[in-house]
Symmetry: C2
Subunit: 441 residues, 2 copies
C-alpha cells in the first residue's frame, strides 16, 4: 500500500491562508482549509462597504468557490479554538463535542483584530472594521445617524447626532473619515428636509504627530491637506482617554458625539495565545527566518498574526502583500520539507504602498516616487481593480465606482436591521430592542 499523502492544515481564509492553499494545488499533499466564515474578503475595500458604496458581495467570495477546482483541497466552515503544536492537532471544539484534526504540516493565518488598549468596554461604543459584520454595523450606525437627525428639530440636540469621530489615523481611519465626510457633503446633499447634511462634522483623531505614520512625512502632510479639503477635521497628538454613549474624552477636552468608530490598533488573533510559544507585545508569533514557529519546524505562521523582523530588524507591516508573499514562501517551504530539502528564508519585496483618502484623492509611495491627488488615486484604482481578478465582480465594481464617481451617488445605502445603538434621539434602548425584534416578525 502506498504511503498516505501528507496532510496540510491551513487555518484562515484571508490573503495568507487562501494564497497558501492555492500555492499547494499541485503539491503531492492533501490540504484542509478551515475558516470560521465562508468567504474570503478583499479587505482593502471593506471601508467602502462600511460607507455604503459597495455591497458585501462585491468584495467577498466564498472560499469554497475559489478553491472548487483544486481537487486536493477541502474547505471546512469551522472556528479553530486552539492548536496543540506538540501533538500536531488543531482543536475545533473543546468540551461538549471536541473535534480534533491531526496534521503533518500546519499554516496559521488567522490575522488580527482591533485592540482597545485595555478598554474592551469601548468596543460596543466604538466598533472597528475587520469583517463584513463590522462593516454592516458601521454602515447602519452611519446611515441611522442621519435618519435620527431628520427626526430631531432642535439644532443643538442634533449636533452630537451628526458628529462622527474616527479614532486612529492609519489607512483605515483615513479612508473612513474621507468617505464619510464626502458622503455627508455631496451624496446626501438633497436628501433631508429638517437639516443640511453639511452640518455633519467628521473628526479624525490620531494619537501620534501625523496621520498615516507608516508613510514618509511629506505624504502624511499631503494626506492631511486632502482630508481637510474634503471637510474632515484632522487632530493629531490627540489621545482618546474615554469613550461613552455621549462622546469621547481627549485629555481635558470633551467632544460630544453619538457616532464613534475605532481604527486605532490591532492585536493578533487570540489563537496565538493557545500555542505556548513566545509572542510579541501585540500577541504576534515571533517566527523563524523560514516563517516556521520556533521549535516546531512543521508549523508556520504568516500574515498579521506573525511578526517577522529578520530582514530589517523592524517588523514587516500588516498589509496584504506581506501576507501573500509569506503564503508563497510557507507553501514552498512545506514542499521543500516534504521532498526532504532544506527550507529557505523568507524575503519580502516591497513594491510600494498606497492609501486612498476620498474622491480622486490618495497618496502613493512607489520606491523613490511619491504621488498624491488624482494621479495617486488612479494608481490606487488600477491596482485594486487588478487585484480583484478572480473576483467575479470586478466589472460590476468598476461600473459602480464609475457611477458613484460621476453622480456622487452611493449604491448600498440600506439599513437592513435596526441596530441597538444609542444614537436615537427619542427612543430608549428597550423600545429600540422591541422595534428591532418586531421588524423581523
Amino acid at each position: 500500500m502506498a504511503r498516505a499523502l501528507p496532510q496540510i492544515v491551513v487555518v484562515g481564509g484571508g490573503f495568507g491562508g487562501l494564497f497558501a492553499a492555492r500555492h499547494l494545488r499541485r503539491a503531492p499533499v492533501r490540504v484542509t482549509l478551515l475558516d470560521r466564515s465562508n468567504h474570503h474578503l478583499f479587505q482593502p475595500l471593506l471601508y467602502q462597504v462600511a460607507t455604503a458604496s459597495l455591497a458585501p458581495s462585491d468584495i467577498a467570495q466564498p472560499i469554497r468557490w475559489v478553491l472548487k477546482r483544486q481537487r486536493n483541497t477541502r474547505v471546512l466552515l469551522a472556528e479553530v479554538r486552539s492548536v496543540d503544536l506538540t501533538r500536531r492537532r488543531v482543536v475545533i471544539e473543546d468540551d461538549q463535542v471536541p473535534l480534533e484534526m491531526g496534521y503533518d504540516y500546519l499554516i496559521l493565518a488567522t490575522g488580527s483584530r482591533h485592540a482597545y488598549f485595555g478598554h474592551d468596554e469601548w468596543e460596543p461604543l466604538a466598533p472597528g472594521l475587520k469583517s463584513l459584520a463590522d462593516a454592516r454595523e458601521i454602515r447602519q450606525r452611519f446611515l441611522t445617524a442621519f435618519e435620527n437627525a431628520e427626526l430631531e428639530p432642535d439644532p443643538v440636540r442634533r449636533r452630537p447626532l451628526l458628529t462622527f469621530v474616527i479614532v486612529g489615523g492609519g489607512p483605515t481611519g483615513v479612508e473612513l473619515a474621507g468617505a464619510m465626510s464626502e458622503i455627508a457633503r455631496h451624496t446626501m446633499r438633497r436628501d433631508f428636509r429638517t437639516f443640511d447634511p453639511r452640518e455633519a462634522r467628521v473628526l479624525l483623531l490620531e494619537g501620534g504627530p501625523r496621520v498615516l505614520p507608516s508613510y514618509p512625512a511629506d505624504l502624511s502632510e499631503k494626506a492631511r491637506r486632502q482630508l481637510e479639503k474634503l471637510g474632515v477635521e484632522v487632530r493629531t497628538n490627540s489621545i482618546v482617554t474615554g469613550v461613552d454613549r455621549q462622546g469621547v474624552q481627549v485629555g481635558g477636552e470633551r467632544i460630544p458625539a453619538r457616532n464613534v468608530f475605532w481604527a486605532a490598533g490591532n492585536v493578533a488573533s487570540p489563537l496565538t495565545r493557545t500555542l505556548g510559544v513566545p509572542l510579541d507585545k501585540v500577541g504576534r508569533v515571533i517566527v523563524e527566518p523560514d516563517l516556521s514557529i520556533p521549535g516546531h519546524p512543521e508549523a508556520f505562521a504568516i500574515g498579521d498574526m506573525a511578526v517577522f523582523t529578520h530582514q530589517t530588524g523592524e517588523p514587516l507591516p500588516g498589509v496584504a502583500p506581506v501576507a501573500m508573499q509569506q503564503a508563497r514562501s510557507a507553501a514552498e517551504n512545506i514542499q521543500n520539507r516534504v521532498a526532504g530539502r532544506p527550507t529557505r528564508p523568507f524575503h519580502y519585496r516591497d513594491k510600494g504602498n498606497l492609501a486612498t483618502i476620498g474622491r480622486a484623492a490618495a497618496i502613493a509611495e512607489l520606491g523613490r516616487f511619491h504621488l498624491w491627488g488624482f494621479v495617486a488615486w488612479m494608481a490606487w484604482l488600477m491596482i485594486h481593480i487588478f487585484f480583484l481578478i478572480g473576483f467575479r465582480n470586478r466589472l460590476l465594481v468598476l461600473i459602480q465606482w464609475a457611477w458613484a464617481y460621476v453622480t456622487y451617488q452611493r449604491g448600498a445605502r440600506l439599513i437592513t436591521e435596526r441596530t441597538l445603538n444609542d444614537t436615537a434621539p427619542v427612543y430608549q434602548d428597550r423600545r429600540q430592542a422591541e422595534r428591532s425584534i418586531s421588524m423581523r416578525g
Copy 2:
C-alpha cells in the same frame, strides 16, 4: 396669511405607500412618508436574495433617495404603533416619549406578514420571507446547511441536514423550492468533498389540491411538472400539523428535516388592529369602494393590509399591481377631496399574472393566453427588468442574471453572520452563540 397646505401622512414605503407619495408630487399638499425601514424593496425578487442570486442592494433602494427631488415630501424612519382615526393622529411612540403626528388625510399601506395559523412558536423554526432581514436569515440557513453537511461524514446523519422543506405552494414557495433545488443540483455541484450536493432533497408541501392555486388549473399542472423536472418533490393535500427542530409532521407522516421555510399564509400588518374598524378574518381593513376606511372618509387603506371586494365580490389578490393601482386611486381621491370634488370608486385592471419556477421555467396568465416554460420565463424576465426602472441596479441585475444563467453560478453566497439556528451537527446552541459573538469581535 395663506391657509397652510393639507398634511398627508403616508404609512409604509412598499409599492402602495411609495407610489401614493409619488402620485401626490404635484398636488398642493405636504406629504410625510413614514416607514420603519429606510428602503423600498422590490419584493418580487426577494426570493433571489434568499437563495443567494442577488445582493440586497440589487433589489432595494433608499426611500429617501427615490423621493429626494419631490420637494413637498419628507421621509421619516419611524415605526407607527397605532392610529387614532378620531383625533386624526398617528402615534410613533406610545409611553416613554410619545410622539404623535397629526394629519388631514391618511394613507395606510403597511402590508402583511406571514401567518402561522395560531402556531407562532413555529416562526423561529420555519422563517418566512417578507423583508431583507428574512431573506438573509433564509440564505444563511440554506448555505450553512451545506457547510454543516460537509462536516458530517455519516450519510444517515447527513440526510436531515440536506432536507429542505418549504411549506406553502403559492408563488413564494414555488420560487424558493425551484431555486433551492436548482442551486443544489447545478451551482454547488463541484463545491463539496464529503458528499454530492445532489443528495439534497427539496420538498414543497401544499395544503390544497394544487400548487399556485390562484392560477388556472392547467398552469398549476405545468408548474408542478417544471418543479419536478428541477428535482423538487411536490406534495399537495399535505397539511403541516407540527414543526420542531428535527423536522415536520404532515398528519401521520414524519419528515426529518433540519431546514424548514414558511410560505404558507399572510395576515395583515398588526397596525390594523389599532384602528377600531371592522377587519376580515386575516386582519385586513374592509375598505369602501373609494378605498377609504368606513366612517373616516379622510383615511385610506391600500395594498395587502386592505381587502377590496366591491369589484367581483371576491377579494383582490395581494400582489404589487393591485397596490400600485390603489395607490394612484387613493392619491387621486385625496386630491378630489382637497379640491371639494366627490371621490371615485377604485377599479382594478388585471393585466396578467406571472410566476417563476426556476432556470428558464415559469408560467404566465395573460388574459386568455396561458404561457409556460422558456417563453413564460422570458416574459417574466422582461417585465421584472422593466419594473426595476427607477432602480439604479437594473443593468447590474441583468448582468448578474445573465452571468448566473450561463455559468450556473450564484453571486451572493455569503454567510456574513452565523445564525443561531439548530442545524449544526456537532455544536450546541450555547457554543454557537459564543462563536457568533466572537466573530464580531
